[in-house]
């Protein structure tokens, strides 16, 4: 009780002293609010979240400026030892990321040889195209617009699919162009019709993996259209679809797609960090879609390999945010006891003070383009603080203008 009384007395004394200030009351109140908002910038800079935002921005910049299509960059996770630390099932990965931000944007693909570091070639097709493999688990293709669609990857197919691959190592889906070459080799030079393509189903082709040849049975032919096909083709180049049975020496790769939107990139970064640790898995950039020579690979992967949280920085960041909130609350309190809200013309002055830190930092940011001048975390808190201050201002304003006292005074 004594403590409570002491605090109350101290508070009363403070209030009396504050009320003695007659001049510059407006400047004190709005200056406090402005200072509180200015503090948010260093507070944000110290936080680990801003570092993460910086990495996400870097990824977005690389996608924008250094990729061929300017839309997508893939980072792939590989296990050091698949037997001990296998990757998650591609179905569950695909489903948990599908349409998370936009249904027409590719987010995940389970690949083999995504970076083209090995040689995978269809021997029967006389091309030097090094292939990647989009691997699938056993699936049941579904009917879609008079043709078929893969059960979980949104790849459009010609047929229902024949998974009986007796006498072959595994099954494979080839593209329509690859099928055309095969048909031409069979002497069918005219325009190919559905029955021509159908004749290829269940036939065998040889695919060599680093010069070791395996027999595959053609289970289906995929159509070279829609957003998913285009992304896979742009990011990895030519590919076939096959089962997750593959020769030794090759690894499964979980490929995540980054784009020009840094918030979305942050989400995928968090997702990768949450699901994989750097001791058992490696993260790499798929360079097929990169335009020129790529030098800043290590910087891009920093979020994965240097993920240790800066505890001291975060602590000071939180302290500064709390301090900033306290100053804002003080300014709201002063707003009340000084009665600044009673004059309508103060609204303009207040607006100038509240938005000036934002405008200053926005201006500097537009010149230097550095995330540490304009961190998202700070700006988000800025947004809520400013709404809090304005809401209190108008609450006082309207409660004052609604009271009888005000009307009496006017009379």
């Amino acid at each position: 009780m004594k403590v409570f009384n002491t605090i109350r007395n101290g508070f009363d004394k403070l209030k009396t002293n504050l009320l003695k200030i007659k001049k510059n009351q407006k400047i004190i109140v709005f200056g406090c609010a402005c200072f509180s908002l200015l503090l948010l910038i260093p507070a944000g800079d110290l936080s680990s979240d801003t570092k993460k935002e910086y990495y996400a921005n870097q990824l977005a910049e690389v996608v924008k400026n250094q990729t061929n299509d300017g839309e997508c960059l893939s980072l792939y996770v590989e296990s050091f030892d698949e037997a001990e630390n296998p990757l998650y099932s591609s179905v569950s990965e695909f489903n948990s990321l599908y349409g998370i931000f936009n249904e027409n944007r590719t987010t995940f693909a389970g690949m083999i040889n995504s970076n083209k570091s090995s040689q995978i070639i269809i021997d029967d097709i006389d091309t030097n195209q090094n292939l990647s493999i989009l691997y699938t688990e056993f699936n049941s293709n579904v009917e879609y617009n008079n043709h078929y669609k893969h059960e979980y990857y949104p790849i459009e197919l010609m047929f229902k699919g024949d998974f009986n691959y007796s006498g072959a190592y595994s099954f494979v889906y080839i593209s329509q162009s690859q099928a055309d070459i095969l048909l031409e080799k069979q002497g069918k030079l005219d325009e190919h019709i559905v029955s021509d393509y159908e004749s290829l189903i269940s036939s065998h082709i040889n695919i060599s993996f680093n010069d070791v040849t395996y027999v595959y049975s053609i289970a289906d032919i995929y159509l070279e259209e829609n957003y998913y096909y285009e992304t896979i083709q742009n990011v990895f180049g030519n590919f076939v679809i096959s089962s997750n049975t593959y020769p030794q020496g090759f690894n499964k790769q979980a490929c995540y797609f980054f784009n020009t939107f840094s918030f979305q990139n942050e989400y995928f970064m968090d997702y990768i960090n949450k699901n994989y640790d750097e001791t058992n898995y490696s993260l790499n950039v798929c360079e097929h879609n990169i335009r020129n020579e790529f030098t800043n690979e290590n910087e891009l992967l920093n979020f994965f390999y240097n993920r240790n949280v800066n505890i001291v920085g975060n602590f000071f960041s939180i302290m500064l945010f709390v301090f900033s909130l306290l100053i804002l609350l003080v300014s709201i309190y002063l707003l009340k006891i000084y009665g600044i809200y009673k004059k309508k013309k103060n609204i303009i002055l207040g607006t100038v003070f509240l938005f000036s830190p934002y405008l200053i930092f926005k201006l500097i940011y537009s010149i230097f383009d550095n995330v540490f001048i304009f961190p998202s975390l700070s700006m988000l808190i800025y947004l809520f603080f400013i709404v809090l201050f304005i809401a209190f201002y108008f609450a006082f304003f309207f409660s004052y203008y609604n009271t009888d006292k005000h009307i009496e005074r006017k009379l």
Binding site: S96, F101, M379, I390
Partner: protein, 418 residues
């Protein structure tokens, strides 16, 4: 011309005819909102009805009353003008902005037509009638789906996409429920308890849409009205509450409710991280709202303009939450204007204890809940609700209906005599 004008003013039959037509076209226009406005080509029916409704309303006010503009009516137009700045600078979605502008005109028309009708209970009854006619239309269209085997087996799909987005139909139904509940729980005449019939139909249609927002808003509305009705009889309130919970548990386990039940179960599994499935729709909507705030933080003053989030985020759709959408699209100032338009009438409501005020509070509850569930700033229902709220909150001061003018003249005469 002047003579004709005076003749028209003195013609009681014409006045009555316009009055009745305002009522009819209000009902028809509101009926057309869920029925036609969301369908290609059919939306022109809605436009024609709206044009006739506007013409009738303003001719009535022009002939038999006089305009008196109150400054609170400017809040929404100012918000729309503010939205134009962001739209010009960033999003360039002028067509969508035009919708917002037309909605503002609709709001002003609703307000003045309610003044012309000058009977808020009649207005609310006309709105219920409009939604009831839509319900019949809905049932006729989905007759086979509703009464098929799927209904009993629980494999019924979400219904309503023939008319508009299923969630939008759900929100129309929650609005209809708010009105019916008011008449059922606060009847002036005993016959008004019969509004329980449209109420049940609205509830069923709301459930058929499979909209989770509808279920949440409807439950909240029931709780709110029961609380107000029985706030002095706590025991009755708790008995009603228990009854409500039991009814809800029975209802949710019926086969035709399985779609909505499963959607809720998956949300619970997602939140508690139990079970094998997670609700992707729930997760993405939550993420989009966070993303909306993050983008809003980057453009705090003007926002990104109408549909700004959809364009700037790369997602191609709205945030699914009004708070983040308004903040992102119109900045802090636009946000404050929009929510000020909602909150200000509540504080200024003078007849706080009159039953009609409960409707205003119910709408406020709806708006608060919907802020986290759907985007309603460009919704037709929102501007209809604004019309009702502003009519109720400004009506004490308004003196522009003929009835009020006559009353005022009578009062003046009485005062002179005294």
């Amino acid at each position: 011309m002047k003579k004709l004008f005076l003749k028209m003013q003195e013609n009681f039959l014409l006045k009555k005819t316009i009055y009745i037509n305002i009522c009819i076209f209000l009902c028809l226009y509101v009926f057309s909102l869920p029925s036609f406005s969301g369908r290609a080509y059919f939306q022109y029916i809605s436009y024609i009805l709206m044009a006739i409704y506007i013409a009738l309303t303003f001719s009535y006010i022009f002939l038999y009353s006089h305009f008196e503009f109150k400054w609170p009516l400017l809040i929404i137009p100012i918000f729309v003008l503010w939205a134009l700045i962001g739209t010009i600078i960033y999003s360039h979605e002028f067509r969508s902005w035009l919708t917002l502008f037309l909605l503002t005109i609709t709001f002003i028309t609703f307000y003045y037509s309610f003044i012309a009708i000058h009977n808020i209970r009649l207005v609310l009854k006309l709105l219920v009638l409009a939604f009831a006619i839509f319900s019949i239309y809905f049932i006729i269209h989905y007759y086979e789906d509703i009464f098929s085997k799927d209904l009993l087996s629980g494999s019924l799909d979400r219904l309503g996409d023939f008319y508009d987005n299923v969630n939008t139909i759900g929100s129309y139904m929650s609005f209809g429920c708010a009105l019916c509940l008011y008449f059922v729980l606060f009847p002036k005449k005993k016959i008004e308890i019969m509004y329980v019939v449209p109420l049940i139909i609205f509830i069923l249609i709301g459930f058929f849409t499979g909209s989770r927002a509808f279920v949440v808003i409807f439950l909240f509305l029931i709780l709110f009205y029961l609380f107000i009705k029985f706030k002095n009889h706590k025991s009755i309130f708790f008995i009603c509450l228990a009854g409500l919970i039991i009814t809800f548990l029975i209802l949710i386990n019926l086969p035709f409710m399985s779609t909505i039940k499963n959607r809720f179960l998956v949300i619970i599994q997602t939140l508690t991280e139990s079970g094998t499935t997670s609700d992707e729709s729930f997760v993405t909507r939550f993420l989009w709202q966070v993303y909306g705030f993050e983008l809003a933080a980057k453009q705090q003053i003007f926002g990104f303009g109408v549909n700004g989030f959809s364009i700037v985020s790369g997602i191609g759709t709205y945030t699914h939450g009004n708070l983040s959408e308004v903040m992102c699209n119109f900045g802090v100032i636009g946000f404050l204007f929009f929510y000020f338009a909602i909150i200000y009438p509540i504080f200024k409501l003078k007849e706080k204890n009159k039953t009609i005020s409960f409707v205003v509070y119910a709408f406020l509850c709806m708006f608060i809940l919907e802020s986290f569930l759907i985007v309603f700033y460009a919704d037709k229902t929102t501007y209809l609700i604004f019309g009702i709220i502003y009519y109720i909150f400004l009506k004490e001061d308004n003196c522009y209906s003929t009835v009020n003018i006559e009353q005022r003249e009578m009062n003046d005469l009485y005062e002179l005599e005294v």
